[in-house]
């Protein structure tokens, strides 16, 4: 009976060996779940939420979010892994795998009587070395379109099937390239991701402009406008009640009629100003589109429609920002100082109706600094799958541009680090060497699982890789269609530098932490619900 039991009979406790066993088994359990997801040949998981919605995913991050993990150790690991995603946008699955493997290797030595603290020291030493190796093997080069496509492809192929991945790759890279501004950080929010339940996943496209998920609310407004001025504004074009309580007294029906007219006058003035501007700038051929963040009431819509103006009301705030970036112009907060300079321009504006839903496309903008990725798919789970993938793809491209360097993928980096660590081992003093050894072995889980998921023998592939690496000295990864070694750089399999860096940091820290736990306790009353 442990001391805590004497203090609080309701406390639960697991000590020493038992605590370690609990932690390690949790880490390995999680590893087992995510193992089959790694790499382009990984399989899908089907998640059914509490409400019965279906989600299909290969993305480790999505999976960890949706799994509702309750085991304390497992959720600790899951949090680290999702933090990896928050920071870099990729590498969640690798993260869980490496943590699991680090603990598994450590377990071997601990069961032989080695103190966990010494292994943790070894891990620390190994991490320092691994980071040095990372600096040596990273390839710094100019991030031209081709390199970026390679990076994006490597990331996307692990998330969706090959044909779709190749399609998304181009879209994602072009999207980031068009919103990139020299000497400014890339703001990925400027790439709008819009979904449309329509056709198939391979119809996903990049629109150089904006897609809004609502349409004009007047039946007579044109469904298609070419060569159009865009007025972005945040002006209420509907009757608004006074803030103080007010009322009118009237004596006859005539007076009431007048009152009704006077009420509207205020709004009509505003509408008139917009119409005047339209008349001033548009000849016969040019179109005019008003996109308003606030409301436009039926009467105002009607007068605008009569002048051939297309008006959209209640646009989303974030779209207002994007609109001015995509088409140019300034977002107006009042109609008092409208000038032609406030207007943006788009080559084509049209409405697309899909059952009940309406979409407005604003396309052919000259030099758009905000673009839209229009995700299409026949059902909801396809759409979410693509959306998650696209988000990761965008992050991968952004990371590559910001890092200015990339690292060989396909398990090549891990093989190289493991080899360097083995060589480095004699320089470490004492039993910590064993920790370094464990670290080196743990990293090899990545190429092993990659091979396993593609149906090859993990050990055999690994040995081939190591031999090839020793002989050629080049960074070799697994070729997943043959199971043979390949030079990752030649095939264009590139991973993000900061993903690997983050991976090394967070895995080591969390694995050491878990290793150093010798008592798990849950003191106090169990919650009233339980």
């Amino acid at each position: 009976m442990s001391a805590i039991k004497a203090l609080n009979p309701k406390a639960e406790v697991a000590r020493a060996q038992a605590a370690l066993a609990v932690n390690i088994s949790a880490a390995r359990g999680l590893q087992d779940v995510l193992k089959s997801n790694l790499g382009p040949k990984g399989t899908m998981k089907m998640l059914v939420s509490g409400a019965g919605d279906i989600k299909l995913t290969k993305d480790g991050n999505v999976l960890l979010h949706e799994m509702q993990i309750q085991h304390p150790t497992a959720s600790l690991i899951a949090k680290v892994a999702t933090a990896q995603d928050d920071i870099t946008g990729d590498g969640t699955t690798s993260n869980v795998l490496i943590i699991g493997e680090l603990l598994k290797q450590a377990d071997l030595y601990v069961s032989e009587g080695l103190h966990p603290r010494i292994i943790a020291e070894g891990f620390e030493a190994a991490k320092e070395k691994a980071l040095q190796v990372l600096e040596q093997v990273k390839v710094t080069k100019e991030m031209d379109r081709e390199t970026l496509i390679n990076v994006a492809r490597t990331s996307l192929r692990t998330k969706v099937h090959v044909e779709l991945a190749d399609l998304l790759t181009e879209a994602v890279v072009d999207a980031v390239l068009s919103i990139r501004q020299p000497n400014e950080p890339i703001d990925l929010f400027m790439v709008e991701i819009m979904e449309m339940k329509h056709k198939t996943d391979s119809d996903t496209v990049l629109i150089r402009g904006l897609v809004l998920d609502h349409g004009a609310r007047h039946p007579d407004m044109k469904k298609r406008v070419e060569d159009a001025y865009i007025l972005t504004c945040n002006v209420s074009l509907e009757y608004e009640k006074t803030e103080v309580t007010s009322g009118f007294f009237y004596k006859s029906a005539d007076e009431r009629e007048k009152l009704v007219k006077a009420e509207r006058k205020f709004i009509e003035e505003r509408v008139k100003k917009i119409i005047e501007l339209k008349k001033a700038v548009c000849g016969d051929s040019k179109g005019f589109v008003v996109i308003n963040q606030k409301g436009i009431d039926p009467f105002s819509l009607d007068s605008l429609a009569k002048e051939g103006i297309v008006a959209l009301r209640r646009a989303k705030r974030r779209n207002m920002e994007r609109l001015t970036l995509a088409c140019g112009g300034i977002a107006m907060n009042s109609v008092d100082d409208l000038t032609p300079e406030c207007l943006g321009h788009a080559g084509l504006v049209f409405e697309h109706t899909l059952g009940e839903e309406k979409f407005t496309f604003i396309e052919q903008c000259s030099n758009p600094r905000s673009v839209t990725l229009l995700v299409k798919g026949p059902n909801k789970h396809t759409l979410t799958q693509i959306k998650d993938a696209v988000r990761d793809g965008l992050r991968a491209v952004k990371n590559a541009i910001e890092d200015g360097s990339v690292v060989s993928g396909g398990g090549a980096f891990e093989v190289a680090v493991a080899d360097a660590l083995i060589k480095h081992k004699p320089n470490v003093k004492g039993r910590a060497q064993l920790g370094v050894q464990a670290f080196a072995d743990a990293l090899l889980i990545i190429p092993k699982v990659l091979a396993q998921n593609s149906g090859y023998d993990p050990q055999e592939t690994l040995v081939k890789l190591q031999t090839e690496y020793k002989e050629s000295g080049q960074l070799v990864g697994v070729n997943l269609s043959t199971g043979e070694p390949m030079v990752a750089a030649e095939v264009g399999v590139w991973d993000n530098y900061n993903v690997k860096k983050q991976l090394l940091h967070s895995c080591t820290v969390i694995a050491s932490n878990i290793l150093l736990v010798d008592e798990i306790m849950r003191a106090g009353m169990s919650s009233l619900k339980g």
């Binding site: 509490g50 409400a51 799994m67 304390p72 004596k251 005539d254 009420e263 059902n379």
Partner: protein, 550 residues
């Protein structure tokens, strides 16, 4: 349940209580396949003209007797996640084409069934999915060459009727000729010169009574309503459409009438009446004789409308109002002002008619009109619902044909032809994929087989005969639905043709769904979220409530 310090191993312990987790071939793939198989088996008997109907009772205790796959699936509320994927594929087909939902389901079901066989033989999932992918691409390529006819003139009633006939025949066998002409006439009449067709423009109005053959089609619109005032027949109508209350205008701000004496009150009333009368008079003087209102109608306004011999019709649905505007060429007005010449709609005849014991308001156009209505008659609600579904499918078929006028032989001929060609193709493919490709060909045959089974023919001899015919190049030989004389017919000669696009999407969606279901190797199901359980899960639904001891 609070988090306790857990015992060592076991994956499930990591999850919230109540979650379920399945993984591996045995637990996931085979079970998924089983569920999908059951679902497609259930609908297989409803396929084709001789398919049987299902009696479905939904969670609201509403009864459906139908053979339409999309309707059955909608009311069935499938819960199994894998089966749900198939249902989603059929929904996608419904959205893209509007017809051919059972085709998707049967093909996907059969693909999975055959995949199960292959798995038992020891093929890996990736080999099967790879083979299916190759085969479905090949099938889509081959399909392009199979078109035997195309709809040349989308305005030719007989041609359109012939093209929509098979779609109707598969749902309402026996009425197909009559309904096809009806559908063709109404579709063709709504096509404007620009040639853009919208399935929205063909409206259906169901009225119980008489028989299906008494259904008629008219240019214009029909509403199940009565007129508001006393006028109920207008020839050469000029219609003003108001999307606001047909009443005295009210300000947004609250108003109070300030009166000091009874005399003022009298004056106020008089002023009110005079104003209303002037409004209505202005409208009448603008040449209007029918007023359509999309909101409230005031008593006073109605009184004056009667006085000036205006017919007043109220619309309850905003969409109906917009469609009516389209049909009449009118612009809806937002305040009670007389319409200008171009805001005014025109209609040849507006009248109140009693059909069966239902009052309907008919807006009939003698000239070309962008809207048409099919007035369906039938003896029961159920029958009317079924015919409506069938007519809707036929209209979608027409819509599909406008996008792509090519037609392929129906009656299972196209599937058989594809099956034969893909079977040949499978021989030329090296590697284990060839088994999967061959399985794909078998699945295509299962569609034809379902037709043959449902027609009550001796399936095996018919299938083998068909197969050999197709091998000899008779690419349009199909299964006869008559059940008399021969079991086989030449589909293109008999005029049984399906739109190519419908098959194209069907094959694509079914293959995708099957591949997705196969690609799943783990299922994690979260605990059901709270809230009251929906009704309909009662397994003893056919036993009275008090007979079950809770």
């Amino acid at each position: 349940m609070a988090a306790h310090v857990p015992v060592a191993p076991g994956y499930l312990q990591m999850l919230k209580q109540g979650s379920r987790y399945y993984s591996g071939l045995e637990e996931v793939v085979h079970r998924n396949i089983e569920a999908c198989k059951q679902l497609s088996l259930c609908l297989r008997t409803s396929y084709g003209p001789n398919g049987l109907n299902k009696l479905v009772i939904n969670h609201l205790d509403k009864i459906f007797v139908t053979g339409d796959a999309s309707c059955i699936l909608r009311e069935l509320v499938v819960e199994h996640p894998a089966a749900k994927m198939l249902v989603m594929a059929t929904q996608a087909q419904e959205q893209e084409i509007g017809d051919g939902t059972s085709f998707v389901l049967i093909l996907a079901g059969s693909l999975l069934e055959n995949a199960e066989e292959l798995l038992k033989l020891g093929l890996s999932i990736s080999e099967i999915t790879e083979g299916y992918k190759v085969a479905s691409n090949k099938a889509l390529d081959l399909l392009e060459d199979l078109s035997c006819l195309s709809l040349k003139d989308i305005r030719d009633v007989t041609e359109v009727a012939a093209a929509t006939r098979p779609s109707l025949a598969s749902k309402q066998y026996g009425y197909e000729d009559f309904l096809a002409t009806l559908v063709a006439k109404s579709c063709v009449s709504t096509i404007p010169k620009s040639g853009e067709f919208s399935a929205e423009s063909v409206r259906i109005c169901k009225i119980i009574g008489a028989s299906v053959e008494d259904s008629v089609m008219l240019e214009g619109m029909v509403f199940k309503r009565e007129t508001e005032g006393t006028v109920n027949y207008v020839q050469d109508a000029k219609v003003a459409v108001y999307n606001c209350a047909f009443d005295s205008t009210k300000p947004e701000t609250k108003g109070t009438v300030l009166l000091k004496s009874a005399g003022e009150f009298m004056d106020f009333r008089k002023g009110e009446e005079a104003l209303m009368e002037s409004h209505v008079r202005d409208i009448a003087e603008a040449g209007v004789n029918v007023v359509v209102v999309g909101a409230k109608i005031g008593d006073l306004a109605l009184h004056y409308a009667d006085k000036y011999k205006l017919m007043v019709v109220k619309m309850t649905s905003r969409n109906d109002l917009q469609r009516l505007c389209k049909a009449l060429g009118a612009t809806p007005l937002l305040s009670l002002i007389p319409p200008t010449e171009d805001e005014l709609g025109s209609c040849s005849k507006v009248y109140l008619q009693e059909v069966g014991d239902t009052q309907v308001v008919v807006f009939k156009q003698n000239q070309e009109c962008p809207m048409s209505t099919i007035l369906l008659r039938g003896s029961t609600d159920r029958l009317l619902d079924n015919i409506e579904e069938a007519v809707n499918d036929a209209v979608s078929t027409y819509n599909t044909l406008i996008r792509d006028p090519r037609l392929v032989p129906g009656a299972g001929a196209t599937e058989m032809q594809l099956a034969v060609k893909i079977a040949d193709f499978s021989q030329s493919v090296p590697g284990l994929e060839q088994y999967a490709i061959h399985a794909y060909s078998k699945s295509l045959q299962s569609i034809t087989q379902a037709l043959a089974e449902n027609s009550g023919t001796q399936t095996n001899p018919v299938m083998s005969k068909l197969y050999s015919l197709h091998q000899q190049g008779e690419s349009s030989a199909g299964v006869s639905a008559d059940g008399e004389g021969t079991d086989l017919i030449d589909a293109s000669e008999a005029g049984i043709l399906d739109p190519l696009l419908s098959k194209h999407w069907g094959i694509k969606l079914a293959s995708e769904a099957a591949i997705t279901v196969l690609g799943v190797d783990q299922i994690i199901i979260a605990k059901k979220s709270g809230g009251p359980k929906p009704r309909g899960e009662n397994p003893n639904w056919d036993v009275p409530h008090d007979a079950i001891d809770n």
